[in-house]
Symmetry: C2
Subunit: 468 residues, 2 copies
């Protein structure tokens, strides 16, 4: 001991920086290592994690689940009315984003959107009656994800609404999403004025049949090549969809003019689609849902297959834990707000669109979408850094989704709950931000992350199910 102190000390400090600061302040040599204990110091979760790491059953299950994700081939095959095509969607039922939640606990934009949907369906004569009906218990609410569906923001899908139909012939599953309404006053941000409902009716009577006619001309459209191309054109397909939308538009416009659709409907449909750079978002989400559903339900797998927000809770599902949701209060997003708004006006994080990050695009592919920082804040270097960081918590890189600024490396994909809990590094998510009150709409966009505690709970449950 006296020998130790006889020499000049060089200290390595791990964890709390205050120890290092004290040594440095006294003139000592110190190297600080940024580290936090696994599971943020939650001892039972840390012990569960230790049993899952390196476990051969988990590794084998993950290989199977990740391969299913990689091999899925989502295709856009049609447009249908939700009641006719979405499995388990019954009359007097409304689907919403995120984990299941009761009417009374829903956030403002979700309640607003639901009231709009009830009037649109003709189940209520006006918004007051809709609110009464919604709270009466006569309407069943359910998570989109329980019906192979996804919807951005409030994610409202009611039986009369048209939906995109995506199939994955490799695994035989299908997925669904509603049609994107554009920006401004829209149901997904809780707006429900007459113009919003008139647009939904026009979707049903005009846009959807015209799209359907176009898709009958094109036949199934392979989505992975189109998404891969859009990644080379600056989209990450969550908050930036301009390239994918333009590529899809090119296919659909040509087909529409060769289809059975009326010329006037074609012109009106093209005008609507041409004015909305977000048209592809809902297709991107459904394609991701199809890929992740293909990887769901592999006993023992620690692969995240759903990340979704209902505006109150952030929720995830994991391939190896069946129907369970792991939830925690949803954070507010510290993003780039439109003039006149701030984080105090924001609803908590909302929407199924985090399925894109679950699938390795969105925030995980920001390296390919550097121009997005003008919309969500930050710098191009930070955008590159987010993608690089996500490779720490993922199972691999998707060779189907390559990123030119990273010398064509695949996007980091396949979030492993073990790696999230071990490192404390939360999955990054690009998102729009809704006003907390119904009807105001989008007030900003930004970068947020999936809360660690969802993953900690999932680790506990996976270990329990495996009898570890």
């Amino acid at each position: 001991m006296s020998g130790l102190l006889a020499n000049k000390l060089e200290v390595i400090n791990i964890g709390l920086p205050s120890f290092a600061e004290a040594i440095a302040g006294a003139g000592g040599g110190v190297t600080h290592v940024d580290w936090t204990p696994p599971a943020a110091g939650d001892r039972p979760a840390g012990e569960a994690l230790a049993k899952l790491v390196g476990n051969p059953a988990v590794e084998a299950a993950n290989k199977k689940a990740y391969d299913a994700y990689l091999s899925a081939q989502p295709r856009l095959v049609g447009v249908g009315i939700a009641r006719d095509v979405v499995p388990g969607l019954e009359e007097r039922m409304v689907l919403h984003a995120g984990a299941p939640i009761d009417w009374a606990r829903m956030c403002g934009p979700m309640q607003g959107g639901i009231c709009g949907a009830l009037v649109y369906e003709g189940w209520a004569s006006d918004l007051d009656a809709a609110r009464q009906l919604a709270s009466s218990g006569a309407i069943r609410f359910d998570s989109c994800h329980h019906h192979a569906a996804v919807g951005p923001m409030a994610g409202i899908i009611s039986p009369s609404m048209p939906v995109w139909i995506i199939d994955n012939p490799v695994h035989g599953n299908r997925s669904y999403s509603n049609l994107n309404e554009g920006l401004g006053k829209v149901l997904r941000y809780g707006a429900n004025s007459p113009e919003v409902l008139a647009r939904l009716r026009w979707f049903e009577t005009t846009l959807a049949p015209t799209l359907k006619a176009a898709l009958e001309v094109t036949g199934p459209i392979d989505l992975k090549p189109m998404m891969a191309q859009a990644l080379h054109m600056g989209d990450e397909m969550h908050n930036r969809n301009v390239a994918a939308t333009a590529l899809l538009f090119r296919k659909l416009a040509t087909a529409m003019t060769r289809s059975s659709a009326k010329a006037e409907d074609v012109a009106a449909s093209l005008e609507f689609l041409a004015a909305n750079d977000f048209s592809f978002l809902n297709i991107s989400m459904a394609a991701c849902k199809a890929m992740m559903d293909a990887a769901h339900g592999v006993e023992g797998s620690s692969l995240v297959t759903v990340m979704a927000r209902n505006g109150v809770e952030f929720g995830i599902r994991v391939s190896g834990t069946g129907d369970a949701w792991f939830t925690t209060p949803a954070p507010r997003v510290n993003g780039l707000y439109f003039p006149g708004y701030s984080i105090a006006d924001a609803a908590p994080d909302l929407g199924d669109s985090a399925i894109t990050e679950t699938c390795g695009i969105g925030g995980f592919a920001m390296a390919s979408a550097l121009a997005i920082v003008k919309f969500i804040g930050g710098t191009p270097d930070q955008a590159l850094g987010y993608t690089q960081a996500m490779s720490t918590i993922t199972m691999g890189r998707n060779p189907g989704f390559t990123l030119p600024p990273l010398n064509f490396a695949g996007t980091p994909a396949g979030i492993d709950i073990r790696k999230v809990v071990d490192t404390g590094l939360e999955p990054v998510i690009n998102t729009g931000i809704a006003h907390k009150d119904a009807g105001v709409g989008q007030i900003g966009a930004g970068i947020t992350s999936a809360p660690l505690s969802c993953f900690t709970k999932a680790v506990d449950e996976l270990a329990r199910r495996l009898g570890l």
Copy 2:
């Protein structure tokens, strides 16, 4: 001297590396500075350069010319038949790419394209007759650039061909380019088979009137914002135009369905445009031509306003040297060749498309088009490097054309002949590569550069005109 040698020597070597290698080989300390004398050691040019550098008249002229370039606002205003709209284009006249050149000296693809044009115009009954007619002296050939026009590769424009019309209301000038034929067997690469000529006739009878009708619905389309957006979507608008084409398609398709055009013509036109990612190239070129013409003719200015290749000579024009061309033999391109072809099969560098680099896009904006390296070779890092290097020889950065991977810096723009000659750094150019024989078509793509000697000659002439 003895004192100098008493100490340990550290040598700085400037220029020829062989001196440094000898010192290093003998174990000496040496730092090598990569340097070549200005004007590559051409003494009269170096003396002319010395008089031009820092010359107040040149600086003032450059400010005026560069400001004109920056402030130009090219708009797509219509489609017309060349004989009706292109200034000075007479009957029995054919325009071609690059500096003026006689029939006998033209390269294979240019002769092939011209023979096709003569049959297309009905001036010759077949290709043999066309070749005889072309060599008889009865046809006048002239540079596109003498008619405010540009054409990719052979750049053939004959009186019956439809052309895009671009105007620049800020300076009151117009520019023109032919319509892009797509890839494969096309006139611009010297192909002239019946299918090539049938496509040109279909352009005249169907595509052009349909585009014209659409542009009557849209009104003038501002091109700089569209080009700026495409730069944020991975295009450099010389060899990669997929985003700009998709954005233009979106506007035109919508307008076509609202126009007076027949439904069948609309469908056929959209099918053609949707299948050709290069549709926007000719518009990009004409927009660049309009911007550079706005900056041309400023007495004393050392700004390059044209770089063009006729397949035999590389030629440039400079704002302050009037109608003069400065030419030198065109190089062959050491690019990425399609399977079965090599540089031995290539025609020398060909086409007016280097007007894009002259204007600060194309090879100068490769930093925004990293995915292009899959088409022209190299790595994303090299693509970034080309853009950075070009800032050494340009007058500034164009704030209208920003590059996300360089943290939204403007593209380097406004090539200064003085800086090229001083540094020996040649402007980089992305280009397609034509087979040396007529009718084979494109055999590759790659990166080349504008030969230094054009710039050296221009420096001499500018100094002479200024009486220096």
